[in-house]
């Protein structure tokens, strides 16, 4: 247990280190001039050379990469995430509220898509080969080919523009300060983005659960239950569900990366002030500190999701736990000659 913890903490730190280095290297090798990108085109052309030099100083274009990184890293170790040059504010301030906005969005979508996908998968498997099964399968295959941002646009057209049920964007109504915000308002602004994200997330989990449930239907304990006179639904409820719940949960945890990716796009469509839209703004402006912070948060979320998924794999199937041990030992014995 202790070695498991230690190994994962080490892996986590290494991941964060690699991610931050990657962000800084990529941002600084870019041929795009941050000054030019953050200043209006007309203003840039009429700008005096001194002003340009001053802005270049501000964006650190003349500071070498390693120096900027060392500076950032030192601050990071002291718990300071640096200053967002684009927003002209400490990164921690820019991110704090957005983080919770994004988290709310992702958690709602995570739960909704999980529950819905699981139910659809089970339904399809119980009605195997029938009309319902085909509809669900077709629906999932189409969804898997649908880009999240386009679905968001379509929902926006239907529910906001045509029906007028939901606001067109932003997490706060226009003309209302965020202090007078009622929970109802935030909820109203959350519904469409969360719905988009959930609908897209359903496909994978539903197809996976369907496959697993079909396997379960073939198993002897299930057929015995049916032979005892239970209907397929009853047998599924009493004997199938607990076998299927954990794999579905595991898959859902392993999908955090896609969820985050989807939220970036969906936030952009709905102008939802979360991490994703901040990442796009930071990316368009070459704001290294802000990008680094967001990349680190996303990497940490994905790592956490994968870690939980890995632990759950072991919980579901103890053989896997032992298997992983045995494999690790074999690997240590030497990859060249060990039979795999």
């Amino acid at each position: 247990m202790a070695s498991f913890l230690l190994r994962n903490i080490l892996k986590f730190l290494l991941l964060l280190l690699a991610t931050s280095v990657l962000v800084f290297v990529l941002v600084s090798i870019s041929p795009l001039d941050p000054v030019q990108m953050n200043v209006d085109q007309a203003a840039y052309l009429t700008m005096s050379p001194e002003k340009k030099a001053q802005l270049a100083e501000y964006w650190g274009t003349n500071t070498p990469l390693w120096e900027r990184y060392a500076h950032w890293f030192g601050d990071f170790l002291r718990g300071d995430l640096g200053t967002s040059l684009r927003f002209n504010a400490p990164v921690a301030d820019v991110i704090a509220l957005r983080f919770f906005n994004s988290l709310a969005l992702m958690i709602v979508a995570w739960i909704l898509s999980g529950v819905l996908g699981f139910a659809l998968g089970i339904g399809a498997a119980v009605k195997r080969g029938g009309f319902v099964d085909r509809i669900i399968k077709g629906y999932c295959l189409i969804l898997a080919a649908t880009p999240a941002f386009w679905l968001g646009l379509v929902l926006l057209i239907i529910f906001s523009v045509t029906l007028g049920w939901f606001p067109v964007g932003f997490s706060v109504p226009i003309g209302v300060s965020s202090a007078d915000l009622t929970p109802f308002d935030s909820l109203r602004h959350l519904i469409l983005p969360a719905a988009t994200l959930s609908v897209v997330g359903v496909a994978n989990i539903a197809l996976h659960t369907r496959e697993k449930a079909l396997d379960t239907r073939e198993s002897e304990f299930f057929q015995f239950a049916e032979a005892r006179g239970l209907s397929t639904w009853q047998a599924m409820r009493q004997h199938g569900l607990r076998n299927l719940l954990l794999p579905a949960l595991t898959l859902q945890f392993a999908q955090v990366a896609e969820l985050f990716g989807g939220s970036v796009l969906v936030e952009q469509v709905f102008s939802y002030p979360g991490l994703g839209s901040a990442a796009v703004t930071a990316g368009l402006g070459g704001d290294a500190a802000l990008l680094a912070a967001i990349a680190l948060i996303s990497a940490a979320l994905v790592f956490l999701g994968n870690l939980i998924a890995n632990i759950l794999y072991g919980v579901i199937d103890p053989r896997l736990r032992r298997g992983r041990h045995a494999r690790a030992k074999k690997d240590r014995a030497g990859a060249e000659d060990a039979p795999s």
């Binding site: 649908t146 646009l153 796009l265």
Partner: protein, 298 residues
């Protein structure tokens, strides 16, 4: 099937025997059926790309007497605020997206093949390094990585193509690595080794042909991902330039006209994109059914 059909042999013979069982219908075998599906999908996609390239100039033609028209007989997908025909723009945009997708996915599959092989055959240190790299790439959401890489390369065509190429290889590389590790122990490889074949010859002659089917299927199944990510990246403003008729550009421009009620600007191009991706999916999965030894005989 208890119905008697007039053309059935029993009816012709004048016998009143009910037909209890007959083959459901005469049809081609499953295999040629799948082959047909694959061929059709491939043909459709090729047509799409060629016609899209052909109308590229027409797609940029503006006609201000015809602006903001809804879909109709003359303009199937309507026109935008500059009077450009949305059907032609969609066609041109899709072909561009498909080309970027093809290029990026092929490059990505190439990286996957190389790194997967090297990881499996290059010894323990290389294996650890490459496995770690795979984990790292999978540990950061694709979109975040894509934004970073595309930014680093100055956006544009090469930014998005290289971005997609260097982010999509890890899963396939993992598959290829596992396949090669497996075939490494196969008797025929052992025999070849004992006969004194060099490592390079072993890899080229005995292992690559074994992983090739997996590689091909993986490559085709990469296309839809690559196309979707290209569109997404362009939509966010990190991809192709605004003057190009890319699908991502069309959709992101349409956002400014949504509240004006010009729904066709977003709906039709998106449907066309989904249809294209589905076609690639179809081509990939039928190819898998044809090539995969587990299902090839069905």
């Amino acid at each position: 099937m208890l119905l008697r059909r007039p053309d059935s042999p029993s009816a012709l013979n004048g016998l009143a025997l009910p037909v209890l069982h007959r083959p459901r219908r005469e049809r081609a075998s499953n295999r040629s059926h799948t082959l047909l599906v694959f061929g059709l999908a491939a043909l459709l996609l090729t047509t799409l790309v060629i016609s899209g390239r052909a109308v590229n100039e027409l797609a940029m033609l503006t006609d201000f007497t015809q602006k903001n028209l809804g879909p109709g007989l003359e303009h199937w997908f309507g026109t935008d605020w500059m009077g450009r025909d949305m059907f032609l723009r969609t066609l041109a945009g899709l072909s561009l997206s498909v080309l970027v997708g093809l290029l990026a996915a092929s490059a990505s599959a190439g990286i996957a093949l190389l790194l997967g092989t090297v990881a499996a055959l290059g010894g323990r240190k290389l294996d650890t390094a490459i496995t770690w790299l795979i984990d790292l790439m999978l540990g950061i959401p694709h979109i975040v990585l894509l934004v970073l890489i595309s930014f680093a390369l100055g956006k544009g065509f090469w930014g998005v193509t290289i971005g997609v190429a260097v982010t999509h290889w890890p899963t396939l590389a993992r598959v290829i690595r596992a396949e090669i590790l497996q075939v490494k122990q196969a008797p025929y490889v052992e025999v070849a080794r004992k006969l004194g074949a060099s490592r390079l010859a072993l890899a080229a002659k005995h292992m690559l042909p074994f992983v090739f089917p997996q590689f091909l299927v993986g490559l085709v199944l990469l296309f839809p991902h690559a196309i979707l990510h290209e569109a997404a990246l362009t939509f966010l403003g990190f991809g192709l330039a605004p003057e190009q008729p890319a699908i991502g550009i069309i959709l992101s421009e349409s956002m400014s006209y949504l509240s004006a009620g010009y729904w066709w600007l977003a709906v039709f191009p998106g449907v066309a994109l989904v249809a294209t991706v589905l076609l690639f999916d179809l081509a990939g999965s039928s190819l898998r059914r044809l090539i995969d030894p587990h299902t090839a005989q069905e």
